[in-house]
């Protein structure tokens, strides 16, 4: 079973070597200053106590006031896992690249740059990877597409939660589809008064409506005659053909 090194223990180890690097610590992670990240990473990788030779995961998190780059690192020999974070200001949002320490950070840093807009200083080829060059902005930022007044497109609340003061959905009438889903078709049929009692359903008069192609009582040919232009064209064509054939 992999043992998770707590943030406090990790912070204590970093602090023993770099007294000023640690900004914050909690149960899960240790947060270091962005400018110290490469030396801290190198120390954690090469120190036999931590032996963090393997970078599992690297990603950026936008906290609106600042960016955090999360490094989930582990030691395969000791089977331990730890979480390191680097914090930087949102503007200009620069973090030194850890590609010299772990080559596996290469593509992950490019992803974080592309989608979050964190610039990794010293990365061998920091280019967009999923989006094309010239794409406006960095979509994983929390303020991407934020409109005036703080309105954010997308889901505002969970649809099953009602707004303040409302306890149920307004009744919009039962639809045939809802009947099918709820299995209440027979109830609807009972509730509706029968228009023409005693006449079977197949023989009842059907009211014409807008969607019906051919109005009732009219032959298909009559409708075509009313359509005008199209019919005229076909008639002309027929005549032209007749003229050609001797």
């Amino acid at each position: 079973m992999t043992q998770t090194i707590s943030g406090h223990e990790l912070a204590a180890r970093i602090r023993a070597r770099f007294p000023d690097a640690v900004l914050e610590e909690d149960d899960v992670c240790a947060v270091v200053k962005a400018e110290n990240i490469v030396e801290v990473a190198l120390f954690l990788r090469d120190d036999p106590e931590t032996d963090a030779k393997y970078l599992n995961n690297l990603c950026g998190v936008d906290w609106l006031d600042y960016f955090e780059v999360v490094y989930n690192i582990s030691s395969m020999v000791k089977n331990t896992m730890m979480t390191l974070k680097a914090r930087t200001d949102r503007d200009p949002g620069v973090v030194p690249s850890v590609t010299p320490v772990w080559k596996g950070a290469d593509l992950q840093e490019r992803e974080a740059f592309d989608l979050m807009g964190i610039r990794f200083e010293g990365h061998p080829s920091l280019k967009r990877i999923f989006l094309w060059e010239g794409f406006p902005g960095h979509p994983l930022r929390k303020d991407y597409l934020a409109l005036p007044g703080g309105y954010k497109p997308g889901l505002q609340r969970f649809p099953y939660e009602f707004p303040e003061g409302q306890t149920s959905y307004p009744y919009l009438g039962r639809t045939p589809h809802a009947d099918l889903m709820l299995g209440t078709a027979h109830q609807s049929a009972e509730a509706e008064p029968e228009a023409e009692p005693g006449v079977p359903m197949s023989e009842r008069a059907v009211e014409p409506h807008a969607g019906l192609a051919v109005p009732r009582g009219e032959e298909p040919g009559q409708q075509a005659a009313r359509a005008g232009q199209v019919t005229d064209l076909t008639v002309k064509d027929d005549k032209a053909n007749e003229d050609d054939v001797p």
């Binding site: 992670c29 995961n57 990603c59 979480t83 080559k103 593509l107 999923f130 997308g154 969970f158």
Partner: protein, 368 residues
């Protein structure tokens, strides 16, 4: 013999090419026949799942994980559900954990059938071994269909368990398949391991040194093919893998052929795991009732599983609301590509195709 010098030129491999296993492009710079530089161009299948997921509830995000690695949807579901359960502290019933193991291993066999079959295709032994492997993959997909109604995008796992219990006809079908499977794997090996085409094309091609593999965060059969016995199922057991007996196959040379035989042997180990899980399968509920708008406490969690392609991790941040604050996927196909450039420089294009095939990428998971 006079030396002929040519200027370097660029050859586009993909994006629409059967050997790139999806919409994936490599810009290869060649000097004569040798590749001197390779640049990957990704993003043709980018659907921005990480952004979309921030607007949806934790449960609504499960179908996204199907569409990542669409050849291994079960393991995608499993990795995500484990991460949410870790974040929210949910206990999963024992029967559900066994079912998860059974379906994840069935999915591993199906995915490895696909990977090895298409790899043999890439080598030039066209189609026949692939069709043999598709035969068993088809039966596994039938098992998925009778359980959850879908074959590829299964959406089977739920936070706190699985969506349905298996039907009664599942047991005879899976038992007969597991009884036949060792013979079938022997059949695949008979078709491929002595195949002159495969041996000539895959041996000593695309060698990955173990120290480079670790430093480049390689995972899965790519890492094990280089001789490192690292498997998340053993190292950090999730579900009930700690109760299963199985071995981790490793390669010796770290070439394409080793990755191929590691996958073959892993199928055999998966059969072992499924047989044990079916024997131990307890009765009981398969999920726990949870609110539709699950609100995990504020915090973060990184959970990982061994998917067929390697370590699949989910990094989730919750701010206490019904939707995740950050939803990040550590996808094995994507990070395994880190080594591609070093692997193919110095090879010819035909060998680069074989190297790419041996990594076993899935573009749905790369681009997300």
């Amino acid at each position: 013999m006079t030396e002929l010098r040519t200027p370097p030129y660029v050859v586009n491999i993909g994006p629409q090419h059967p050997s790139t296993h999806g919409v994936f492009r490599v810009k290869a710079t060649l000097d004569g026949e040798r590749i001197i530089d390779a640049e990957m161009v990704l993003g043709y299948l980018h659907r921005s799942m990480e952004k979309l997921a921030e607007e949806r509830t934790f449960t609504q995000n499960i179908p996204f994980t199907d569409r990542m690695d669409y050849l291994a949807a079960m393991t995608g579901n499993l990795g995500y559900c484990l991460a949410v359960e870790k974040l929210a502290g949910i206990e999963v019933p024992e029967r559900a954990q066994y079912l998860r193991v059974i379906f994840a291993e069935l999915q591993r066999i199906a995915s490895h059938c696909m990977a090895n079959g298409t790899f043999v295709n890439d080598c030039g032994a066209w189609q026949t071994p692939l069709m043999y492997m598709f035969r068993e993959r088809e039966r596994i997909l039938d098992l998925f269909e009778m359980t959850c109604g879908a074959r590829l995008t299964t959406n089977y796992m739920r936070i706190g368990g699985v969506s349905f219990d298996v039907p009664d006809e599942f047991y005879p079908a899976v038992n007969s398949l597991m009884a036949e499977m060792p013979d079938r794997i022997a059949e695949y090996e008979g078709l491929t391991l002595d195949n002159e085409i495969l041996l000539a094309r895959a041996r000593d091609i695309g060698v990955l040194r173990p120290d480079v593999a670790i430093n480049s965060s390689a995972t899965g059969p790519l890492l094990r093919g280089s001789g490192i016995a690292w498997d998340v199922r053993k190292a950090d057991p999730y579900c009930v893998y700690d109760r299963m007996e199985f071995d981790i196959p490793i390669g010796r040379n770290g070439d394409c052929f080793d990755r191929f035989i590691v996958r073959m042997e892993e199928m055999r180990q998966s059969v072992r795991i499924i047989k044990q899980a079916l024997e131990q399968l307890p009765a009981g509920p398969v999920n726990v009732p949870l609110p539709l708008a699950l609100k995990p406490p504020p915090g973060e969690a990184y959970a990982r599983i061994e998917s067929p392609k390697g370590e699949l991790g989910f990094y989730l941040v919750s701010d206490g609301g019904p939707t995740p604050y950050r939803w990040h996927v550590r996808s094995p196909s994507y990070i395994n590509l880190t080594v591609l450039k070093d692997m193919v420089v110095g090879l010819s294009i035909a060998d680069a195709i074989v190297s790419l095939g041996s990594i076993d990428i899935n573009v749905g998971e790369i681009d997300r």
